[in-house]
Symmetry: C2
């Protein structure tokens, strides 16, 4: 039987690499979608390519869309604003938040899905060990599912988009544990918001802090840190 | 008193030109947003520029985002598929429909709005004299409003996006009448899906058919047709 198709949003980070492994384990024929959006950490695109290679995604199923959010900036990732050291759990949306980024990413995913005949989209958002970004929360994901359904042929063809966020309620340590079970190679993933010249992680930003804490909880050393 | 900001999606067509005039008439300080998305009718971007010039939008408030939907195609506007002659009102979504295009466009509009501190977005969709595209219907627009609110700081700051579609329930002739009252110069707008080499409209596609019918109903000649 021919496998059903799914679109997996892939950033090159730990979460989306795990998400890709889950989509494959759940039996989907995966199309990956990565973005070059003017982010300061280009190194994550190299990581994404390595993850895609390792997952064996065929050439015609690796999609990339480029646009430049520095047109208006508004985030430490897309404007000349310094990435701050980690400030976890202070209840504020941090300056690394990129306005409406996941809405944009998911919109392109819905466009790709509709075009290739996929009804399922995987996104590696998480609302436990996260930076407080509004577009990582379950209410947003649910709402997007409906919007994508109403804004495409899905509504006329009587099907609905299934946007899966399998990491939503996992801690970062649980995500890593799950990924290791599925054979994810975390040494090739990249999570840092503000990598050094040589591409290595700063070990100071929110994203590094969450990642290091999680590997610590598992009694492991992060394989991406030399 | 300082005017409130609004983002207006502008394609260079008749509808969005009218929408821009309405936003200005409603007292907003307008930021325009246009897209270079790999569409076959580049001439509409020249039209958009002329409309923006005429509306007197300041330099820092004219935004353009480029990306290439030919990455996956799926539409006569973004792939090597011929634009068919008009087939209005046959109840089918036509091949000129670009998968999830308005979801993508509105997502960027929400990102821009959040960044500049605007809560209002204008979009020239219409569900009377239209080609049957799902992403022009009222249910989609309402759903997007909620998704954009939940996927941005709006949800934490206790405000909601106001996505205005002032043309939603107007016939094409009523849109033109409204625009003429507001001083819109339709001679510089471009609506054709499949323009000739010199940029002039084909007068055969859905979009041309709707436009010509409307000017006819008003007993006028389309000022954009030489």
């Amino acid at each position: 039987m021919k496998k059903e198709k799914a679109v997996v949003l892939l950033s090159g980070g730990l979460d989306s690499a795990t998400c890709l492994a889950i989509a494959q384990a759940e039996g989907f024929d995966v199309h990956t979608l990565t973005f070059q959006y003017g982010q300061r950490h280009q190194v994550e695109l190299d990581a994404a390519k390595n993850i895609i290679d390792r997952a064996g995604i065929p050439a015609g199923q690796r999609h990339q869309i480029s646009f430049d959010l520095r047109e208006w900036g508004g985030s430490a990732l897309t404007a000349d604003i310094d990435v701050p050291d980690a400030e976890l759990d202070n209840g504020k949306v941090p300056i690394t938040y990129v306005p409406a980024r996941n809405t944009i990413f998911l919109s392109f995913a819905a466009a790709l899905a509709e075009t290739i005949g996929a009804k399922t989209i995987y996104v590696g958002v998480n609302s436990l060990d996260y930076s407080g970004y509004p577009d990582c929360r379950p209410a947003f994901i649910k709402s997007f599912e409906l919007t994508a359904t109403l804004g495409t042929k899905a509504v006329d063809e009587n099907w609905t988009f299934d946007v899966r966020a399998p990491l939503q309620y996992l801690t970062k340590a649980e995500i890593i544990k799950k990924g290791l079970e599925l054979g994810v190679d975390y040494s090739i993933t990249h999570s840092c918001y503000n990598p050094k010249e040589d591409g290595s992680p700063c070990l100071k930003c929110d994203s590094c802090a969450l990642r290091q804490r999680a590997f610590g909880e598992l009694g492991m050393k992060d394989p991406a840190v030399k």
